[in-house]
Assembly symmetry: C2
């Protein structure tokens, strides 16, 4: 089975749709972006990502953690401290994301996207 056929086969996109279902959601990439720089706390993320609601941030973080792109560390202190960082798997995904980014720069620079 060639690479070509692989893309075209029925279920070829299922794992892909799963990832896209995660990183394609609002704020997900920006969150990833922040955490990729360095470990971040909830409050830090909220501050950096101007406009995100705590509900959304919380959801995104949980989703990213679920698929092991990021990991969460809770320090049993008062006040509570929680840190989010990239997992090795997250690092490997980053590479792919960067190539997508590059593709975008090469091919979408002049393209405006309108809908419906």
């Amino acid at each position: 089975m060639s690479k070509n056929d692989e893309l075209a086969s029925e279920k070829c996109f299922c794992p892909m749709e799963s990832i896209l279902g995660i990183i394609g959601r609002k704020w997900a990439l920006l969150i990833l972006c922040e955490i990729a720089t360095s470990t971040k706390r909830f409050g830090q993320l909220q501050k950096s990502l101007q406009g995100i609601s705590p509900k959304t941030l919380s959801s995104r973080l949980q989703e990213l953690e679920q698929v092991r792109i990021i990991s969460k560390t809770v320090y049993p202190e008062v006040p509570p401290r929680v840190e989010y960082s990239l997992t090795p798997q997250g690092e490997s995904l980053k590479t792919i994301i960067l190539s997508l980014d590059e593709w975008g720069r090469e091919h979408l620079s002049d393209t405006e996207i309108s809908r419906e």
Copy 2:
């Protein structure tokens, strides 16, 4: 500027968000999947993608065409015939999508995704 910093910089994801805004939408990948196999007509796509509405299919095709991932050829015949195929740019995107797919297979195989 290292690859690492590139990912983390403010606007690094903008082109990326643009692509995700396209290929992350419902049916987009499956459509791409179909067309990647071979040139397809509107009706063929409708048949293959069981459950897609003509409105949605039409939107997705327009979006993919706008960013030059696919190209549309209209044959001035009666009844009308329209064919969609991958552009060279679409082919290059396919490669990246396949690596995303691979990432998913390696890292998400056992992961179930739940929300909210």
